[in-house]
Symmetry: C2
Subunit: 360 residues, 2 copies
């Protein structure tokens, strides 16, 4: 078939121009006679690719010089241990906000390394809202405050940046990074698995304030020690070179689109359109409190669960792929990352309207 509209939550659709460029350069990157994946990570060519990717990311997200940018391996899940191992330092406890499945995974892993205080949770609501920060039981002696700005599975997104005072704020931005401008200076550490808005899986980008380096516990595996990774320009060992290169192509594409302001506008428009259609149509429903609805991941249910299979089959026949919701939530989920064109959302809405008409 021609290119489908792929609504997968991750690994996710990538910009077509990025894939085309990667395709063209596959056997011979700019006359070198090599694929990027065949290059020494120490070669002038690859070092230039890597540095340009970092520069473009710094420019896009306005990352100040007192922040390090690391291109690591192991995905966001590895960071669930890496963060407490590096940031607890001489403190014994960390604060976590629980807003969904990914928060819970981060909490469970951190508990293995220290005293984790869940300052607030919206579990009682079925994770349909963000707990009001006025009630958060934060502790001033916490090593850091961790939260998940966008819950990929639940489709719940913070519409504010928590105020953590002097405690470093740590954010799992896997499914929201680069979807809108962000104020990096509000954070101590930001991390993001690449496979949603950055590139292929197997890469995780970490942005951290340099004063947080150098506190790793002695049992920290060297490959998880931020100081070591930073000191070696993310090349303490061979990095995931091809993923890094693809991330660089995505950053270039984002710049060509007009940067994060332009993406925010487009993402806002895409999400608003889909939520409005869901709200206006009794056949579909989304359970999230409107102000916290994710612009990236839109879960929705059909009026009759028995129709789920027919819905998915009909969608697939039209090239609308991977709309099945996460098994823990059920129903459907449409992920609308940066690389999902507006035409994809329009095609989805058209199909949803027809399906509702036929079965509603």
């Amino acid at each position: 078939m021609s290119r489908a509209f792929n609504f997968c939550a991750g690994p996710a659709t990538l910009p077509e121009p990025v894939l085309k460029q990667a395709q063209e350069e596959m056997l011979d990157w700019r006359g070198t006679g090599m694929s990027v994946m065949e290059m020494s990570h120490r070669s002038d060519e690859f070092v230039a690719i890597a540095e340009e990717a970092e520069r473009d990311l710094r420019e896009l997200a306005e990352i100040p010089e007192d922040y390090a940018v690391l291109f690591m391996q192991g995905g966001a899940s590895s960071q669930f241990s890496t963060i407490p191992l590096n940031l607890l330092g001489d403190k014994t406890s960390a604060d976590y906000v629980n807003t969904g499945i990914w928060s819970k995974k981060a909490i469970a892993e951190a508990r293995r390394y220290g005293d984790v205080n869940v300052v607030a949770s919206s579990e009682d609501s079925g994770f349909t809202t963000v707990p009001d920060p006025s009630g958060w039981r934060t502790r001033p002696d916490a090593a850091y405050l961790h939260y998940t700005p966008n819950e990929t599975i639940g489709g719940l997104e913070f519409d504010f940046v928590p105020d953590s005072g002097d405690v470093p704020l740590v954010a799992d931005m896997s499914s929201t990074i680069l979807s809108r401008p962000l104020d990096v200076t509000r954070y101590g550490l930001i991390y993001a698995g690449a496979q949603k808005n950055i590139g292929p899986s197997g890469l995780v980008v970490v942005i951290l304030r340099k004063d947080l380096l150098g506190k790793a516990r002695k049992e920290t595996p060297t490959m998880m020690n931020y100081q070591v990774i930073a000191d070696n320009g993310s090349m303490y060992n061979t990095p995931a070179t091809y993923s890094w290169y693809l991330a660089g192509l995505v950053f270039k594409w984002l710049k060509a689109q007009g940067g994060l302001e332009a993406m925010a506008e487009r993402n806002e428009r895409k999400a608003r359109k889909l939520y409005r259609f869901i709200d206006d149509n009794d056949f579909y429903a989304n359970p999230i409190e409107p102000r916290f609805r994710s612009r990236m991941n839109v879960p929705f249910t059909l009026a009759d669960e028995a129709l789920n299979r027919a819905f998915l089959e009909g969608a697939e026949a039209r090239g609308l792929l991977n709309l099945k919701g996460h098994r823990s939530v059920g129903g459907m989920r449409a992920s609308l990352y940066n690389a999902m064109p507006e035409a994809g959302v329009d095609a989805l809405i058209d199909y949803m309207a027809e399906f509702a008409k036929e079965h509603g």
Copy 2:
């Protein structure tokens, strides 16, 4: 330029048919309308790709059913910590053989987790030989015996499999795996960073006897826990999907070449040719004791170091790339992995002969 002969030690040259297939399938894998890197790792399509890769690897390397095959992230360097964290169990010590720079890195990292006994070292010889096993001071109560069958930097390769008795034998096969048949049953655990004979960097393949699972220390990061990774079919989190797919293409290519017997024959021929030329020509030298010369990495020096630069420039002009030796060893190094065609070795020898004639 057209495709060069790339002698890089890793990331290394890949088979051209593999890159061509990846290129063709980049935007649309078999009519799905998606690139493999855009597929959910839980999708039927990707699961089929992943399982087929494992099956092909098991077939190629004759891996018995009582061994698990894991596709992990973080490269061999991550395994330097993962191995002691998982295999020390209730024992306190492990045995290591030191035959070069990679052995030393493995030893240094393991020392952070337990009592490491270096049973033998060839450091005094400048790592030009393998210590005679009759003198190894192994301990029957060691949790495992670790060695590096091929030292990528030094160009030193074991021509035997050590007999470790009842102690599990652990091998860093990054630069030798799949270059010849191997008897997996001699090993407790084999690991290999992908970026030499398997695929792109960012993937590490681990083959381990299942009775070694389930001994991880409690501080082991979950993403480093072999039991967890095995229980989840290497999909505890999102794996490096695209690298896994490329590894699968390499395995298919190896099967089409006739498997590991055929590769062994070809690799043997390539290496013999180059070493013979070096030995027959006073202008070049290789310091390794002949029986332990690596078939994968051939370091050599010129009679006059001042000519190194001219040698490299001349080579590059002919499309013979990345011949510079590792900084710790100096001189040159030609890596002759599976994907290096015999024509590349012939072209290198022709050039070396001409260069020696001109400058010798």
